[in-house]
Each structure stands twice: as structure tokens, then as C-alpha cells.
Amino acid sequence: MSEPSKEVNRHTIAVLVDNEPGVLARVIGLFSGRGYNIESLTVAETDHAAGLSRITIVTTGTPMIIEQIKAQLGRLVPVHKVADLTLDGPYVERELALVKVVGKGEKRVESLRIADTFRARAVDSSNNSFVFEIVGAASKIDAFIELMQPLGLTEVSRTGAAAISRGNKPI
């Protein structure tokens, strides 16, 4: 067999699991126990009737490691499905951040202006602060946060990625 590729790539993996106690610990324990990376992780119940949660994991690794990660996830008993969105075709990935910016005068106006170009919404304001809500790819959120830095950025709360394949087929 030819040498497998050593190239490290970023993969977004969707995992459908039974919504039962300990399932998240199982998934996280698998990653830490076997030394895999977690760049971000998002989890919430997505099908109440069937009692299913969806975990979206962004990870990195060589093709052999990524294959291992999927196989290891697949053999957990409460796991129903593992889908590699990065491999399976085009997909949409979004993160959300809430960004608190404190300032007055020119800086305050500037932060509003930038928020506007990023389509971030002010979801709270006081006479010297805003909380912006921004949705998008991780890189867009990174850029927004960087621009807010000199304008009085004081706090950020960020989610991991939510992701779904494009087109009419479910995973």
C-alpha cells in the first residue's frame, strides 16, 4: 500500500447520538483519551420525539487519524450516525458570537458602523455599551473581534460550529 498522506486537514463531523446522560462525556473522553484535537464542539437536542442530539465537532488530523476518529465515534453504543461534512460535499457552517463593546463618542459610532458592514446586530445597548450578535464562518467572527479590539471590546461569548450539508439530502 502506498504511503498514506501526512497532510493535516480540518474536518467538520456531525454525530447523531441518543440524548442520554454521559453521552457527551463519552465523546469528549474519546478525544482526550486518544489524543485527538477538538477545535470546537457544539451539542444540543435536535429531535425531541426520537430523543436524538446532534454533536458537531471540528477537528484536525491526517486522513488516517480522521478515519480513526470516525471509526472510534461510530463504535460508541449511543452513536447512531457519523457524517464527515468536509468529505461528503458542500456544506454550510456557522458560528455565533455575542460581543460586548464599551466606549463613547467616536469609537462607539465606529463600532456601530463596522457592525453594520458585518451584519452584526446590536441586541443590547446602554449609553456607553453595545452587545453585538454576529453569525457566520469562524474567520468572519475572528475578523469582527479583531476590529472591535481597539474600540472597547471587553467580553466575547462564542459558540462552536453548527453545520449542515447543502442540497436536499439529510446526512
Partner: protein, 586 residues
């Protein structure tokens, strides 16, 4: 459905009965008293009282491996559960089906640092195939049924069910085993047909094929061993087995080239290195097998049959992966081979066997028994010869004696060899032998042991006495942690730091104090008589065999080395220093 409500503990016992359980290994305590009460009130399930919970799990492992059934364990909360952790990890590494019931403090006290509380599901999550904490008495039966299904299906493994005391004391409904569990967890059994066809094609064209089989064949059941034999005969290929696979193919057959790996035979390892097509059947390319990965069988096409997709392409990338049960896939392969009748290159195969015979001619397992100092290889060989013709089960501890047992005791049938391979747990063999003997009361069960390992679970001699189990503990006593000493000799300039076994007990008197017979051989001329007497005694025996203290295990592929850099004997080491990368490996 106006069925009478039952107490939780009765529900558990009823579910065990429905799962066909007849023996459980356990140790009581406060949190499991209701379960012990339920055991007291029935006769269908026999409880075997061990002397330490670790012993219970190893006993259940021996029971499971020698019968193909699920081994069952019952322990109390806190220290009972933590004592079971080593055995659970052992069972996970070696794919042994176990269901372990653990007591737990009542649900309202969980998280309170209550007396004898520990986070059992948290602690055992990484060392079980799956685990459960049952919080509702009405879930009990279904969870027990599911646990058995999970433990035995796909790649077998240990499953823990944590049982809070209030749950087993509450009244609830029993639920019969149904199909729910199978719907929830159903690993793939049937292999991909086009991959199987391709595998047959590759094997049919091979000029230098080898079949490398492992514990998965044993896991799959005796039928898989039979099919493996058929395929080896059809293809005419040499067959090698891992430590966990011994017995899956008869050692007495001429197509068997011995165990492979770190202490495998010269011919098996060189054939692995030089082959052009390798068929791996239910084995997992463990580091004891592959040696240095980038030098592992560099020129071969590799086919891998495994029921666990995570075993495939984990260490070694393969060309034809086949996910499925060994038995099912081998049946398909045999059928397809017979239908396709591949035109093999007979001349090439003859040449290949010629090469293998040359490697064999090195006689890598040769030893010389001269004088009165007993060579361990000779002791095992005589044990093998003198137990021929009987139904004999062998368990081992961990160390040099384990490797000598693997090399010099020949196994012709599956399920007769129980050893701790993946975790390498000293103290496994004695309780495992107890479990085997419980399942096979009339068979000869011998634990091939080292004196250091024997002391790790010696307390189980008391259980062996209680149940009148005629288990034989055959100690190759070198007064050293021999395997540790061997590595210190090889890698650490012969500085034998803490590997000498000081102040050993008198094993003969120790045996007697445990109501067993004690025998000793210190000279080669005494060996046969001691072995014969050990077999003849109708009861437990510890046979203390004083062996050559300086003997090392060869052949050996030092860690970090390749298959063709094997050490064949003590004089081999000087010219091949161990690499620095090799030094950090275990």
C-alpha cells in the same frame, strides 16, 4: 399486563437467568446486599465467592474465553468497583465479553461523597465497551438484556451496569428480552462481497502468501477456526497466529509456522516481512506484531478482515479492508475460492515453501537441556507432552513464562488458551484458571505462572479450595521478574534494579496453608515425576519448578526494530544495539 411487581434485585436475577447465566463471580458489600438476598433465594444461578474483586473479573474472563459465553461479575460500590477496574481494562483490551454489575449508593445520595461512593460510570467509561447507571427500577430488565447484547455482539467487551441501592430495592415490572437491544446496536456481520472477491483474486495470484490470524477468530467461535483451516488448506499458504489467536489453527499442522511478533518464530516473522499478499484475519496489527512500522512487510498487498472498523487502517494501511465477522467472511471466501478455482502459480508457491523451510532450518526455538538445572523451555515441553491426550486448558500469568508457554505448549483447538495479551496483567492466570475450571469441572486446568505474578492474586487459592477446584499452578520459578530482568540486561546495562524477588514464600507450605498440595522440582531428573504427580492429584496443586535463573526469551525483536532484525539468542545482542527510538517504547 397485570403482572405482579417484583423487587429490583429479583428483576436483575430474573434477567440474568433469561440470558442463560448459570454462574457469577462476586464479592458482597452494603450496596449489593439486596442482590445477594435475591441470590440466596434461588438455585438457578451459582455464585462463586472470590477473595478480591480483581479476581472475580479475571475468573469471569477465563470462564468466558473457554466457553464463548458472557462472563458475569457482581461487586459492591466504591472499593468493589475500583478493584474491578484492572480486570475490566484487561477484558476491553483482549475483547472478552463480560457483564459486571456494580452496587451504587442510593440515587438521592449520588454526588454527595456518600459512604463507599465512587463515580463508577465515570471511572469505567474508558475501560468498558459501554456502561449504564440505572435510575428507574422499570428500566432494569431491559438494561440487563441490552448489556448482554452489547457485550457479546460485534467486537466483544466488558459492560458495566451500575445499580443504586434504592433502585434494586424498589418494586417494578419485569420485561422480557426482546429485539429492542439488537435494533439499537447491530454491528455489521456480513462482509462486502466485492471486497471478498478481490481478496480471493489477490490470494489466488499470490506467489508468497501468508495468513496471519488472531484473537478475532477465537471471538467468532469454533466454526471460524474450522473455516480458517479450510482456507489455509485451499490456498496452501503458511499460517501464523498472534498470542491471542493460538489454537485457532492447529499448531501440529505443517502449514503452521508458529506465533509471530516480538517473541515469534524466525520463520513466521520473516515470512511476514517477505510475503507478497498478507491476509489478516481478526488480528489488529498490534505493536508487538509489527515492530518498526515503516519496515513492516513493505512489499505486500494487505487484506484485513475485522468486525471493528476502528481496527482497520489504524496502525498499518491496508489495500482490501473487509468489515465483518470472521466466520461469515471466511465462509464467503471459501465458497468463492471453490467457485473461482484460481490457477495458482504452483512453482512460485513451491519456491516460497522452500524459503520458509530454510528459515525453519535455523530452529529458532531449539534449546538444550543438559545437566540438572531445569530449562524453562524443557519444563513447558514436558508439561505439554505429559498432558497430551487429555482435555487441557492453559492459562498464564505475564512475563517470560507466558512467552515460553506460547512457544513450547502446542494448541490444536481454540478456547483452550487463556492469557492476558493486550494489557499484560500479572495476576491474571490464577483467577482465570479458577473461572475455566468452574466452567469445565472435569478438565485439566493449568496456570503456567511466574513466581512474581502468582503473588499478585494468590488470595484466590482460598476460593479454589472452597469450591474444590483441582486447578494446577505450575510456577516457573526464576526468583526474578524475569521479563523485567531481561529488558534490563538488554537495555539498561544489566543493572537489575528492583527485579530480584527477595523473600519469596515457600510455595509448598503456601499451598498447604491454602488446603492444596505443594510440589517442588529443583533438578531436571525430578521434573517428570512432579508433573505426573501434579496431574494425578485430585485437587488443587502448586508445583514450584526451580528453573535456570539466567534464561532469556528468544527469539526477540527488540522494540523499535524490524522483523528482519531479530535476535535469535544471547550472543546476538552485541552486534545490534537498540536504537534510541526503540528505547522509549515498551
Amino acid at each position: 399486563m397485570a403482572k405482579k411487581k417484583m423487587q429490583g434485585a429479583e428483576i436483575v436475577i430474573e434477567a440474568l437467568k433469561e440470558q442463560g447465566v448459570t454462574e457469577i463471580f462476586g464479592y458482597p458489600g452494603g450496596a449489593v446486599l439486596p442482590l445477594y438476598d435475591a441470590i440466596f433465594n434461588q438455585n438457578a444461578i451459582r455464585h462463586i465467592l472470590v477473595r478480591q474483586e480483581g479476581g472475580a473479573v479475571h475468573a469471569a474472563e477465563g470462564y468466558a474465553r473457554s466457553t464463548g459465553k458472557v462472563g458475569v461479575v457482581l461487586v459492591t460500590s466504591g472499593p468493589g468497583a475500583t478493584n474491578a477496574v484492572t480486570g475490566l481494562t484487561d477484558a476491553l483490551m483482549d475483547s472478552i465479553p463480560i457483564v459486571c454489575l456494580t452496587g451504587q449508593v442510593p440515587t438521592h445520595l449520588i454526588g454527595n461523597d456518600a459512604f463507599q461512593e465512587c463515580d463508577t460510570t465515570g471511572i469505567t467509561r474508558p475501560c468498558t465497551k459501554h456502561n449504564y447507571l440505572v435510575k428507574d427500577v422499570n428500566d432494569l430488565a431491559a438494561v440487563v438484556h441490552e448489556a448482554f447484547h452489547v457485550a457479546r455482539s460485534g467486537r466483544p467487551g466488558p459492560v458495566v451496569i451500575d445499580l443504586p441501592k434504592d433502585v434494586v430495592m424498589a418494586l417494578g415490572n419485569y420485561q422480557e428480552a426482546g429485539t429492542a437491544a439488537a435494533e439499537k446496536y447491530s454491528p455489521r456481520v456480513k462482509g462486502d462481497q466485492s471486497a471478498i472477491t478481490e481478496a480471493v483474486r489477490l490470494l489466488g495470484q499470490a506467489k508468497k502468501p501468508i495468513i496471519y490470524a488472531g484473537g478475532g477468530v477465537i471471538n467468532s467461535g469454533p466454526k471460524a477456526s474450522k473455516l480458517l483451516g479450510d482456507l489455509v488448506k485451499l490456498t496452501g499458504a503458511p499460517c501464523t497466529l498472534t498470542l491471542m489467536g493460538l489454537g485457532a489453527y492447529p499448531a501440529s499442522d505443517k502449514q503452521f509456522v508458529g506465533m509471530l511478533g516480538m517473541h515469534g518464530t524466525y520463520e513466521a516473522n520473516l515470512a511476514m516481512h517477505d510475503c507478497d499478499v498478507m491476509l489478516c484475519v481478526g488480528a489488529r496489527f498490534d505493536d508487538r506484531i509489527t515492530g518498526r512500522l515503516d519496515a513492516f512487510s513493505p512489499g505486500s498487498k494487505k487484506i484485513h478482515i475485522d468486525i471493528d472498523p476502528s481496527s482497520i487502517n489504524k496502525n498499518v494501511p491496508v489495500d482490501v479492508p473487509i468489515v465483518g465477522d470472521v466466520g461469515s467472511v471466511l465462509a464467503d471466501m471459501v465458497r468463492k475460492w471453490k467457485a473461482a478455482k484460481p490457477k495458482q502459480d504452483k512453482a512460485a508457491l513451491k519456491k516460497w515453501w522452500g524459503q520458509i523451510d530454510q528459515w525453519r532450518a535455523r530452529k529458532c526455538l531449539a534449546f538444550e537441556q543438559k545437566g540438572e538445572i531445569i530449562k524453562p523451555q524443557h519444563a513447558i515441553r514436558r508439561l505439554f507432552e505429559l498432558t497430551q491426550g487429555r482435555e487441557t486448558f492453559i492459562t498464564t500469568e505475564v512475563g517470560q513464562h507466558q512467552m515460553w508457554a506460547a512457544q513450547y505448549y502446542n494448541f490444536d483447538k481454540p478456547n483452550h488458551w487463556m492469557t492476558s495479551g493486550g494489557l499484560g496483567t500479572m495476576g491474571y492466570g490464577l483467577p482465570a484458571a479458577m473461572g475455566v475450571q468452574i466452567a469445565h469441572p472435569d478438565a485439566l486446568v493449568v496456570d503456567i505462572a511466574g513466581e512474581a505474578s502468582t503473588l499478585m492474586n494468590i488470595q484466590e487459592m482460598s476460593s479454589i479450595a472452597q469450591y474444590r477446584l483441582p486447578v494446577k499452578i505450575f510456577i516457573l520459578n526464576n526468583e526474578y521478574m524475569g521479563m523485567v530482568r531481561q529488558w534490563q540486561e538488554l537495555l539498561h546495562g544489566g543493572r537489575y534494579s528492583e527485579s530480584y524477588m527477595e523473600s519469596l514464600p515457600d510455595f509448598v507450605k503456601l499451598a498447604e496453608s491454602f488446603h492444596a498440595a505443594g510440589l517442588r522440582a529443583t533438578k531436571a531428573s525430578e521434573l517428570d515425576d512432579v508433573i505426573k504427580e501434579m496431574i494425578a492429584i485430585d485437587g488443587p496443586v502448586i508445583a514450584d519448578i526451580a528453573i535456570d535463573k539466567a534464561e532469556n526469551c528468544f527469539p526477540m525483536i527488540p522494540s523499535g526494530a524490524a522483523h528482519n532484525e531479530m535476535l535469535l539468542g544471547p550472543n546476538d545482542k552485541a552486534n545490534k544495539p537498540i536504537s534510541e527510538e526503540g528505547m522509549v517504547l515498551v
